[in-house]
Symmetry: C3
Subunit: 402 residues, 3 copies
């Protein structure tokens, strides 16, 4: 086992983190004083503070999705569960401070404050985990960190263009994507596909991805944790007045995709696939993202039903032939869970949101696709420089035996 490049990488990473810290020291040194000042005056809580704490609650729900949700959903690969969970831990631990550092220093995108800052960083981490799902099992653990180092700036670049009027292309607020169907889900999935296309070799195509009864149950646990907290993901930054409507829409869309998945897996496969149940049930949450605060309840149900059916169709019918044709792998099927439903969700806004700027919406979707594919292809080439697995999907390549 050649550990030299790993350790080099570890040192480089530590260096980067130390620089991060050093820079930030200069910026935040007077925080302690603020702390003492505020702590001295109890009983004077403002409603704005209370609203901020409520946002924090949703930020914690998203954290549960990132670690327990995405982490355990990816445990379905038999014999690769320790790596999947560890990779999740590492990517979240890298993405959150990296996003907050780049943003607070003004390196990419505008400044965000307080809990909003944390939530935006969590959105970026979610998108990274989606991206990594495509390549799951093909990378060594340190390569997931390299992937994160490349992904986060690309994600922020796209976020800046689409949502913050970067280059003056799309007016502020013109692009409708409250829960991130496009900016988070579709971007992550497309970036991931591009990475896989450019980073994996043909020799790796033929390897079967297998699950077993216990890995399936862990995966369904992750799926349920994602389902449960999805309303907080979509409603994270929505104003308190809009929370009830938003979260009920998300719940209804998830109910729709869950029912549609059952019908679709039965009709398309003539039997039930545990992978479909774990994944496509969530497609309604992906697709309702763009319009979660605008849609009516029946529109939410229709979006959920369509997304669930489309996602299951992707898993059951499209994935096999497509992967053979393109000579690629999408381990977790993120195309089917995040790619297709994400794009559907972004397009649904054209029909659901009255007075929408159709040009801006279509331009935002097109730009996101372009940025994701271009930066993803480049990132894949770089990630491939940092090593190559000998045995895909095996914990034993990197973990010590007990």
């Amino acid at each position: 086992m050649n550990t030299a490049p790993r350790i080099l990488f570890a040192l480089a990473l530590s260096l980067i983190l130390c620089c991060t810290c050093g820079a930030a020291f200069a910026q935040h040194a007077d925080r302690a004083a603020v702390g003492e000042a505020v702590a001295a005056s109890p009983g004077s809580t403002s409603i704005d503070s209370v609203v901020e704490v409520q946002k924090y609650n949703r930020a914690i729900h998203i954290m549960a999705m990132l670690l327990v949700g995405f982490g355990f959903l990816m445990v379905f690969v038999r014999g690769y569960g320790l790596s999947a969970i560890t990779a999740t831990y590492l990517m979240v631990a890298l993405a959150l401070p990296l996003y907050m550092f780049l943003s607070s220093r003004g390196i990419i995108g505008g400044p965000k404050a307080g809990v909003d800052h944390l939530v935006f960083a969590e959105f970026a981490a979610a998108s990274l985990l989606i991206c990594a799902g495509a390549a799951l099992g093909r990378l060594k653990l340190h390569q997931y960190l390299v992937l994160g180092l490349l992904f986060i700036p690309a994600y922020m670049f796209n976020e800046w263009i689409i949502l913050e009027n970067g280059f003056g292309l799309i007016a502020h607020g013109a692009f409708v994507d409250t829960g991130g169907s496009i900016v988070i889900h579709a971007f992550g999935a497309l970036f991931g596909l591009a990475v896989v296309l450019s980073a994996t070799s043909k020799r790796e195509q033929g390897i079967e991805i297998e699950s077993d009864f216990t890995s399936d149950r862990f995966s369904l646990l992750g799926s349920m944790v994602l389902w449960v907290f999805w309303p907080s993901f979509c409603g994270a930054l929505v104003s308190p007045e809009m929370i009830p409507q938003t979260v009920i829409n998300v719940v209804i869309a998830l109910c729709g995709s869950t029912l549609a998945t059952y019908v679709a897996t039965l009709v398309l496969r003539r039997g039930i696939s545990a992978a479909d149940i774990a994944n496509a049930t969530l497609a309604g949450g992906v697709a309702i993202g763009s319009t979660c605060d605008f849609a009516s309840q029946p529109a939410a149900m229709v979006i959920g039903l369509i997304a669930g059916f489309a996602s299951t169709f992707g898993f059951a019918v499209i994935q096999g032939p497509l992967q053979k044709a393109l000579k690629m792998i999408d381990t977790c099927g993120v195309t089917n869970l995040h790619g297709i439903p994400g794009l559907l969700g972004g397009l649904a806004a054209l029909f659901v949101v009255g007075g929408i700027d159709r040009g801006a919406q279509l331009a935002g979707i097109g730009l996101t696709i372009a940025v994701a594919l271009v930066t993803g292809l480049i990132a894949g080439k770089i990630v491939a420089l940092f090593g190559r697995r000998e045995n895909p999907y095996e914990d034993s390549e990197e973990f010590l035996s007990e």
Copy 2:
């Protein structure tokens, strides 16, 4: 495998859902406009909005109980875990929109608004999951959906009689059942028993229900998730001022039943049963439901201790002989976890709540028992028309092998 009736059923279900959607479109079409109006005025958050968002937090906690809690508690059956989780997904996805549709259209019961509406629908879904626990492993997946279609209207009918002065029988507010010991737990358990009595054949009696070490650990995970969020279940619709007292009562009752379960399982079985620990520990939460906002802390402890002991006694001593005598099965032991402790909880209100209308309380309990048994027996006959399992408790009958 005869898939024709399944597909017919799937089509019928889709049809029902589409009608639901169509009807709802007419009703809610102007929501988007509201959304834009509110989003335009930040900084003007009212305390009522904040209270509503807090209710939403409890609604999410209940959602975690429904999916991760009930879902994984039912994974204890060896080799039936994928079906148990999928059935949970399907029943929740059916129950929530069905309840909200029937209620918002005024078909059964009075209208509810905002997050309250979601919470009432979650209560109904919880009761359905309890009901299904009795029949777990005896139904095919589409039969759980049929069960849900029949259960939810029956549940709402009972809710209307007991809590909303249906037929003028019980005055508004006279029946004390804040956390649903009677209306949710006892109703679900009794309905489930009636379903099993009328839907399963004698041939099925002799089959052993087995668990293994891993299915037990998943079941204990579900149990702990239920324990953790139970205070939010009982306090979901309680006013902010009453939350501290209510949630501490629920925690104390759960502590009581947990300690009592350990003592009881040891004394009654001369060894510890993992199933007792996973289930009877929760009996305090069931039993404190009716009086969670009224009880004193010591009363909560006493209710929890009694409920934990009674529940363990049910699992360890009553269940075996009773099932032989009645020639029935109660797969998850919902009689012991939800039936007996639920009735205890409803009756405890007679002693704990000062100035209670005893006649109304007893009438409500009696009516709930009657409605649950009658509608459950009918529902069982209908559910039986939709198929019959060849191999109870086996995922492989419906799931594709990996």
Copy 3:
């Protein structure tokens, strides 16, 4: 199997609980009246009530850490998972009402009200679970209860000295330990070590503690649940204004320890240990506790990095030789996860918090170490009187086979 002492113990426990209840009845009997009064006036919610409900949300997050987090983290021991989970259930169910009883009766420490009372009790339960982690697998289930009965008063005694000016030693507010690095984590770990030193025999030293692939995944699940909700643990009693700064610091410290753990396990072991990943990733949360509301973000990152490295160093390098030298066992490695990082966190306050009373801080740390070791040694002797396992780390000694 000698069940006589168990049943005696069970009876004694019931007796204690009944006395608890009886005493408390006298104190709280008029609560029901209050309940009815408040319920009668909706729409008049004060901002203080809302802030209290937000505290309750964090209390529920901590409950998830206690049961699902600590409980499943301890499932890593192969073949002892049912016992680990049951022991967690029992200790939490004992600790919460015992703390609330001793405190509300004024037996140890000053009175606490409302949700604060519950949160302080949860802190004590967390410390007990840490303590039990050292002895995990060496005690019978009823011995964990005896341990709890001895631990909680000792914990409260130390809390009273350090935080409530007990004996007039440390001025109110002079000791900086918001998230409990010293009072909760270091105290629990040191008490646990002392218990193990005095309670276990030499014969038990040689037994290997083994994990398997599934027990590791359950352990990582517990780890992630702890990680996710850790910000609510540290920020539980912090004022709303300070929540954003506090929780972001905790998240950053956890990110730091997670990254450092990966690098350290790779460098120190030349391969990745699942146990390091499950445990040392959390060291940042332990260490940031004392200064979570004062630290700057870069200071939080540095604390997290150091804690993660130190904790992994403890697991990988120190633990083996130390246990041989001291002829003791620390099953869960609480020295490395809670002991060392806890002490680091308490000392970090000397550098991070401006204007800190260094004497009080050092005195508090020293006193905590002394109280924990002395009371722990005594407790270990008493616990040992209540039995001795024949087969450490085996569920089958106490659980019935399926």
